[in-house]
């Protein structure tokens, strides 16, 4: 596996071009974030299928729904704080209720967006999208997974939310790693602690597992790239063989991955304790990405400290 750090947005942009070469129905829309959302390649190669909507995210989603109703597969691209966070209404009615085949791509998600500050750090988007009927929610962990996730949501007919970012992530997969919507990937096997992570936090989970092994704590790591539909089977399987489950995500601890896991566990007569790591009902702030992740406890060290204190 290569060690080169890359972004999920690069994976998305490249996969979109590859997919569009094969499928003439794919069209892309953006609200004045063409370069940032890595759409330059698409716009240059498919100028007729690229729509610059201007800074009007609600209109972008509405236009996408209309394009879908004429048989296109529209991919709407903006920062996650704007799409889906400014576009919840049109997504609910024009996309989800209508089951239009619209893809919502939320970029610059999470606190690792960094210096732009809290207005640009989406930390509630998973929760918002997860509650909508007919919507699926996918959070790729690295460049290669973003490529596969992009292809997967385009192959899937129906509303889909893909959460990507600009953070340079340590690779946790390569082009040969299997990716299946709704099926978590087991990255480490263990029987004492389980870490369930998504997005940028998957690399931290692996680092934490390596550190925990040095303390003789056997640790399993699950990459829960699909938050909805959640992989119940993998969670139930874990619950049967570990003593502690930890979730970690660049998102509020309410409504996102941690909550989705909690909902599955809560239905069991008994299950290991669950601890959720994430943003604690708070907004972010400006700063370098790594400094922010450290300040808000979204690191391998935070997982290790928590796990050691609970077992």
């Amino acid at each position: 596996m290569t060690k080169e750090k890359r972004t999920t947005r690069d994976g998305f942009g490249e996969a979109l071009v590859e997919a569009a070469r094969k499928d003439p129905h794919i069209v892309a829309l953006t609200a004045d974030l063409r370069e940032s959302m890595r759409l330059d390649g698409f716009a240059e190669q498919f100028p007729n299928r690229f729509f610059e909507i201007g800074v009007a995210e609600e209109n972008m989603v509405g236009i996408a729904a209309g394009l879908a109703l004429t048989g296109k597969t529209p991919v709407t691209c903006s920062y996650a704080v704007f799409n889906p966070q400014n576009t919840m209404g049109p997504i609910r009615s024009s996309v989800c209720y209508s089951k239009t085949n619209v893809k919502i791509i939320g970029g610059h998600a999470g606190i690792s967006t960094g210096p732009d500050g809290a207005t640009h750090q989406a930390l509630e988007d998973i929760a918002m999208m997860r509650t909508l009927p007919n919507m699926i929610v996918v959070v790729p962990a690295d460049y290669h997974e973003a490529k596969k996730a992009t292809q997967a949501i385009l192959d899937y007919h129906g509303p889909a939310y893909l959460r990507i970012g600009k953070y340079l992530t340590q690779p946790v997969s390569d082009e040969n790693t299997e990716f299946k919507l709704g099926k978590a990937t087991i990255l480490r096997e263990g029987n004492t602690v389980a870490i369930i992570a998504c997005g940028t936090m998957v690399a931290e989970a692996i680092k934490a597992a390596d550190q925990l092994e040095t303390h003789n704590v056997s640790t399993e790591v699950l990459n829960m790239h699909t938050i909805k539909p959640i992989d119940r089977f993998s969670i139930l399987e874990l619950a049967g063989h570990v003593q502690l489950i930890v979730t970690i995500e660049e998102h509020q601890i309410t409504g996102g991955l941690g909550s989705a896991v909690a909902e599955v566990l809560a239905e069991l007569p008994q299950h290991p304790p669950l601890h959720r790591i994430g943003m604690l009902d708070q907004f972010g702030e400006s700063g370098p990405s790594d400094a922010l992740l450290k300040k808000y406890g979204l690191t391998a060290d935070a997982i290790v400290d928590l796990a050691l204190s609970k077992i």
Partner: protein
């Protein structure tokens, strides 16, 4: 294929409009809730589109060469449902299930519930963007179908509507025609007392559209406005001055009728005015 090719006379269109009004008040009373004034005021617009203008085929609602008629102001759906039934998309008997449990006639239109519905609507301001998307999609496919989007005047207060105007005007979407039911009322009162829209035509023109203001109850005015819209190189907004509650004297021009149905007694009076023998 389409009744439009048969060129119905004014008298025939007037008779269709009367029947649609009878259906509207009857289904609203049967439902016990719903929006009466706007629906009655838009009858000529719908009659014109479905019986005089648009390429549509009730026996093949998803005909790829059809014109797309979008109702953006979803609360006025009794006029849409009554028109679709009159046109033969489904049996008129089903109108009495409006708003009831397990009905296909949802309180606000749902795309997949009923044949003939082109978009889900109810949350105001979302229709014109979808119409723009359809107009773009048809242009991509080099098809000449037209897109008609019917809005209320109240939803001209929604920001998304203006985002859509701006985009369509800048991109000269000549295959798109908007209708605005300018009835001057909304749920909270007369528009003038909520948020006046006195410069509506001027505002829409400044976004790169052609506008035509007409009497929204005149079939000949509607017909010629749509003829003119087809000649324009820009999208056209047809501002239809209408009387809310048109056709039933005690409902006309009273904003209190925005969101309530006729009682049984009021229905009988309404039906008498609409020429139904009891």
């Amino acid at each position: 294929m389409n009744a439009a090719s048969q060129f119905l006379s004014q008298a025939e269109l007037t008779e269709i409009a009367r029947k649609i009004r009878v259906s509207i008040v009857s289904m609203l009373t049967a439902a016990g809730s719903g929006h009466t004034a706007g629906a009655l005021g838009m009858v000529e617009i719908f009659t014109s589109l479905y019986f005089d203008r648009a390429k549509i085929d009730p026996s093949n609602p998803s005909w790829p060469d059809r014109d797309y008629i979008l109702l953006s102001a979803g609360h006025t759906c009794p006029v849409l449902y009554a028109t679709l039934a009159e046109k033969g998309f489904f049996d008129k008997k089903e109108l009495d299930t409006f708003r009831d449990i397990n009905t296909r006639l949802q309180g606000h239109p749902h795309l997949h519930s009923l044949p003939g519905i082109e978009i889900t609507s109810g949350a105001l301001g979302q229709g014109l963007s979808q119409a723009v998307g359809m107009a773009l999609g048809l242009q991509l496919d080099q098809k000449d179908n037209r897109v008609y989007c019917i809005m209320s005047d109240g939803e001209q207060q929604e920001g998304q509507t203006w985002e859509a105007y701006m985009y369509a005007g800048d991109h000269s979407l000549s295959n798109l025609t908007a209708f605005i039911d300018r009835n001057h009322i909304q749920i909270g009162g007369n528009s003038n007392n909520v948020l006046p829209l006195n410069r509506l035509s001027e505002m829409i023109r400044s976004f790169g559209w052609e506008t035509i203001t007409i009497d929204g109850h005149s079939f000949s005015a509607l017909h010629s406005a749509m003829d003119r819209a087809e000649q324009h190189e820009q999208p056209t907004a047809i501002i239809c001055e209408t009387t809310p509650g048109k056709g039933v004297s005690f409902i006309e021009s009273d904003f209190e009728w925005h969101g309530k149905p006729p009682s049984e007694e009021e229905l009988q009076r309404a039906l008498e005015e609409l020429g139904v023998q009891s």
